[in-house]
Symmetry: C2
Subunit: 399 residues, 2 copies
């Protein structure tokens, strides 16, 4: 790996543990292979670091690579027709009853070959990376049987092997109950076979704790099994209604509770005490024409906040974190700095990755050079293309 | 101009006068220089049109080029700092009182040379065109004196001469009262000098009829003068409060009434009877964190509806019509077809241009090939890059 310098940084923005964003003007970052070696003002750059291959940012702003902590990136087919029908007034429930919803994607994903899934997913991953994502979590959950859940992990591993960005695998077998099976017998399969078989190849287990998904008690059993197999815990919590998901996530010490559209102040307080990160997903609200989750309330509650794309073919076909940041600011009441924090360090906290999300020595060399001099442009110009360069694990990916 | 064929069109979508969108599958479009010569199903293509230079769309969808009927594209400086301050809780009024708001852009635009303005504006225009805009209206209004309003028209003419897309010029001298002048003496200048001097170089006159702008009576006088000088009429109507702008626009037979955030049902009925087009600007609501104007109510009232970017540095720094379409669907309650209609034929109606916005023989050869097989993707995937090819006046602009 080449040792590199990023010079001419007009403003370098780095999130802090205190939930603020520091900035340095006229900054330089020195990279030693895949890690950041030195960060500071140009005038303080040690002499021995000066003679390196240089990327001149020409006054542009630098932020950490985005951490997209909640995606369903691997799937086959799309659900544009279902989206149109929902806009026309059909309910999610009636569409699901007619074979749409998650089950439509399950059918398509089961029918697709591993190579087809890799091709479709890597096109999406490329667009994510092009928009500055350098760490992406990817969930299973469109298999709902051992063979397809396992195929999805194969695909995630193939993507991870071929991409310069870091991929985190989550087993979401408890996403829905498959057609023709009882909830109980499916949960038995999840706990008895899927989790034991896949635990060694994943970092996290997730569950869909929701009035239209599984109950808090069912989810607790699944997560107990996952814990026993060494997996970290995540929870789709209280999206379409309150099902005790946030409360349960906090009680289980989950890494994150995601969605939270129907979480109460008491739920947020429980998450804060537990150190569970709230992952908010504005793309789902936008796509479903629903009220946005209360980003302002979550931030003010003291809970650590992450923003993510929720990339999926049913309810949030987003790929780009800058757009998620813009929604955080324009639709959820966050300040630009808070939204940037949530899209970088917040995501890293949600994935329990201590080596990214800030720009400091020893951290992964994951950086985005914006094509502007301030990150506020991400929401000031919400349809702009703001990415000038992406550096992932020390590798510049453009030009 | 080369005679061309667009072949392999999976679905061709063309708005109709009845406010619907027709579609043809497996379609072909024949272009004869700058105009459309023939449109239909591949199997019906006349033999004599077959031997032409061909663009194979490979199953993609084709829609008319977007018509962006309301922009303030020509300006210097930006107002990102003001945007941040407003997010932090400062009001537009207090920022304006401290020299921000429109006046900040007026100062920067007065200070910029013609060439600087051309360079900054043509970068924005290029991004618009890259996203499928083939007709763009551009307003003056950051001069507020004869010399600078005239310089803005120079810039618009320079942009028009250098771009393959069609540019429509609007004089918006009555945008605000300049510092150090009384309203009355400024309006005297507008009516006595600015409009008479610039009328021959513009198609329309616009006024800012709003509680924070000019009264309906003041605007009526300005528009009477504009009419006498042969200009068509447009009105910024009732954005921050109801000032009788829509009513006045209807009474004057204006081509369009724009914004309409505070228009009543009676206002809409007046616009409908007058045949005045409603131009809605969701970017301003998004950027100002205000409720979106009622696109559904406007559509259902029977008023013809256009959607536009409102591209400006203060309240809506948008450049791309696909994003405006997505906001129309996801935030204003329009269907994908209605939003497409509003962004194409609706824009053409607002600009009183009868030769575009539909894909039919004799129309301008302004077409967008989407990188997908259905226009619903514009809102289904609101952060996607959906443009595969843009044809403006018969010229393919990519590749």
């Amino acid at each position: 790996m080449t040792a590199r310098l990023l010079t001419g940084i007009g403003r370098l923005f780095s999130p802090t543990a205190a939930r603020t964003v520091d900035h340095v003007e006229d900054a330089v970052v020195a990279l030693d292979g895949t890690r950041i070696e030195w960060v500071g003002s140009r005038t303080d750059l040690p002499r021995e670091l000066r003679d390196r291959e240089t990327i001149d940012c020409e006054g542009r702003a630098v932020v950490p690579g985005f951490v997209d902590a909640h995606t369903h990136l691997v799937f086959a087919g799309d659900r544009a027709t279902e989206f149109s029908r929902r806009l026309g007034g059909e309910t999610y429930e009636s569409i699901a009853a007619a074979g749409g919803g998650i089950r439509a994607t399950v059918d398509a994903t089961r029918a697709a070959s591993r190579d087809e899934l890799v091709a479709a997913s890597s096109a999406r991953l490329d667009r994510m990376i092009g928009a500055g994502t350098t760490t992406v979590e990817i969930k299973t959950g469109y298999g709902l049987d051992l063979a397809t859940e396992s195929k999805m992990v194969d695909v995630i591993e193939a993507l991870a092997a071929a991409t310069p960005v870091d991929v985190v695998t989550t087993v979401l077998a408890a996403h829905a109950t498959p057609e023709g099976t009882s909830r109980d017998s499916y949960l038995e399969l999840v706990m008895g076979e899927v989790i034991p078989m896949l635990a060694g190849r994943a970092a996290f287990c997730d569950v869909f704790c929701d009035p239209v998904g599984f109950s808090a008690d069912e989810c607790r059993m699944v997560l107990d099994t996952a814990s026993a197999h060494g997996l970290g815990l995540r929870v789709h919590a209280d999206q379409t209604g309150r099902a005790g998901g946030a409360e349960m996530a906090a009680a289980m010490g989950a890494a994150s509770a995601d969605h939270l559209d129907h979480a109460t102040a008491a739920d947020l307080e429980a998450l804060r005490r537990a150190g569970t990160v709230a992952v908010l997903l504005p793309g789902a609200s936008l796509t479903m024409r629903l009220p946005f989750p209360g980003g302002r309330a979550v931030w003010d509650s003291g809970v650590e906040l992450a923003l993510a794309t929720d990339c999926n073919p049913g309810t949030s076909y987003l790929e780009t974190m800058p757009f998620v940041v813009a929604l955080g600011v324009l639709e959820m009441g966050l300040s630009p700095s808070e939204a940037l924090w949530a899209a970088t360090l917040g995501g890293a906290r949600a994935l329990q990755l201590a080596d990214r999300g800030v720009i400091a020595p020893g951290m992964r060399a994951d950086l985005v050079v914006l094509d502007t001099d301030h990150h506020v442009d991400l929401s000031y110009r919400p349809d702009g293309d703001h990415i000038w360069q992406v550096v992932a694990g020390g590798r510049p990916l453009r030009g």
